[in-house]
Symmetry: C2
Subunit: 278 residues, 2 copies
């Protein structure tokens, strides 16, 4: 009887997995023609867990690829593997991305609260902006969640809208740091010509105060992401340190946001399986 029950269970599970049930379909983010059997990208968590079954059926261990990215083993990639587009979409739009971010920010807040702060206005926390403070998910949802090659022109058009939402977990950290007397510094790969819209967008999303907002010098069309982000950002952190600031924390979604001396007393890596900046 146990065997019969097991077989029935296996059958039901197979049916459930095979049919790709979702809790709810909110909106067809991708706006791409799709066959009837393919689930549309949804805004809630798939019952069976972040689309991993889909990835497994496609023969790609997308969750392992994502772990490889987050642990800095998989580097210098240009696009999300084609077969992982759905997986990354589900990850980003479902509860998984948020849940992973909660753990990072809980750690960061616990760390910040454990510090013996001097309260001398020199203690700062460095925040990256894109995919750290502000989320460009609506843009990437329209561009394959990183499965299509980065297009600077269209991305800059999107940034110019100033419509990006705050990452709620990062905003929670930001607010707690202000309470603790640690001053935020934004350090971004965005360029000076984007300063005004960036300020507007940050303020609208609840990031209203900062010690500094550091943007890269404006460049012509294609230069924005050229050169090493590590060199640029660590150079800016060195200037902050030389000016007497103490970098007690440093958070970003790219390893290039946070690696490179001086890193700060402790670094935090937020998840981002959509793009890689070296």
């Amino acid at each position: 009887m146990a065997t019969a029950a097991m077989l029935l269970l296996l059958f039901l599970t197979a049916v459930a997995v095979g049919c790709s049930a979702w809790e709810m379909n909110i909106r067809d983010w991708t706006a791409v023609a799709r066959p009837w059997w393919r689930p549309i990208i949804h805004a809630l968590r798939p019952i069976l867990g972040s689309g991993r079954q889909l990835a497994a059926r496609a023969g790609v261990a997308c969750d392992s690829w994502r772990l490889g990215v987050e642990a800095h083993n998989v580097i210098a990639w240009k696009t999300v593997p084609a077969k992982c587009e759905d997986y990354v979409g589900h990850y980003m739009l479902g509860g998984h991305y948020r849940r992973d971010s909660v753990v990072v920010v809980d750690e960061a807040i616990a760390y910040a609260e454990s510090l013996k702060l001097a309260g001398n206005s020199k203690e700062i926390w460095v925040f990256d902006i894109d995919e750290t403070s502000l989320s460009n998910l609506p843009y990437y949802a329209k561009h394959g969640f990183g499965a299509t090659l980065y297009n600077e022109t269209s991305f800059r058009e999107y940034v110019a809208e100033g419509s990006a939402s705050a990452l709620p977990e990062t905003r929670r950290l930001y607010r707690r740091l202000l309470e603790l007397g640690v001053k935020p510094v934004f350090l971004t790969g965005r360029t000076e010509d984007q300063r005004t819209i960036t300020i507007t967008n940050l303020q609208q999303q609840g990031f209203s105060r900062w010690e500094k907002l550091l943007l890269k010098p404006s460049v012509h069309a294609t230069g924005e992401l050229q050169g090493s982000a590590i060199e640029y950002k660590s150079g800016e952190r060195q200037k902050l340190q030389d000016a007497g600031f103490i970098i007690v924390g440093n958070i970003g979604d790219q390893w290039s946001d946070i690696l490179g001396a001086p890193e700060g007393t402790r670094i935090f890596k937020l998840p981002d399986p959509m793009y890689y900046i070296g």
Copy 2:
């Protein structure tokens, strides 16, 4: 009709999830009294994916905790969170751990193959031993997969058996490096008094050649893992470099295996959600 079908599907899925079906139960690794509804630890992959549903039901985002560990956000922890013992057990014994390791080693081999090697016998790759070259999973399976506090005495007894298995992915990397002419160096937190059994175990598991096998000086009972592993290991790497070796790669399961100058040209972090060494 679509709605009715969806409801049926949701019901079937709920049944399947609620009953915790497994492909096969091999052996009760944990040997702990358990209620009838709780699945025993199994040696094959759970159909619904690495026990995440279990973790979610227990109100702990164990997969997010694990990601936090792997991305070096969650540090200095003493034990796996109690509610994640099952999750970690499923992760380690199922296909998930292996699948994650495959991605790391694929990256490492691709990197090694891309190197322009001088072939001067000075190019080395540093391997950690425990949970990198040899797996102590049978020991940890009996000790809560890291959910119980580390016990040096019983772990040393286990090591003295010399029964640890090779991690197959790491052995794949090891063999490819030998083919490429890169010499392996083992650098471990194991102590000199464990040298003989370590050599026997490594050789029995297919790790038969190395440039050096570096163990820590023997200490009395409780000293083995005291002090900073980062300082010890980076100090040993410095000596290697001073002796003219070029560390082209460096792989470990702990960040303390691989961080700290000189790190080597590139570092690789294998998964390990069972313990933390700082």
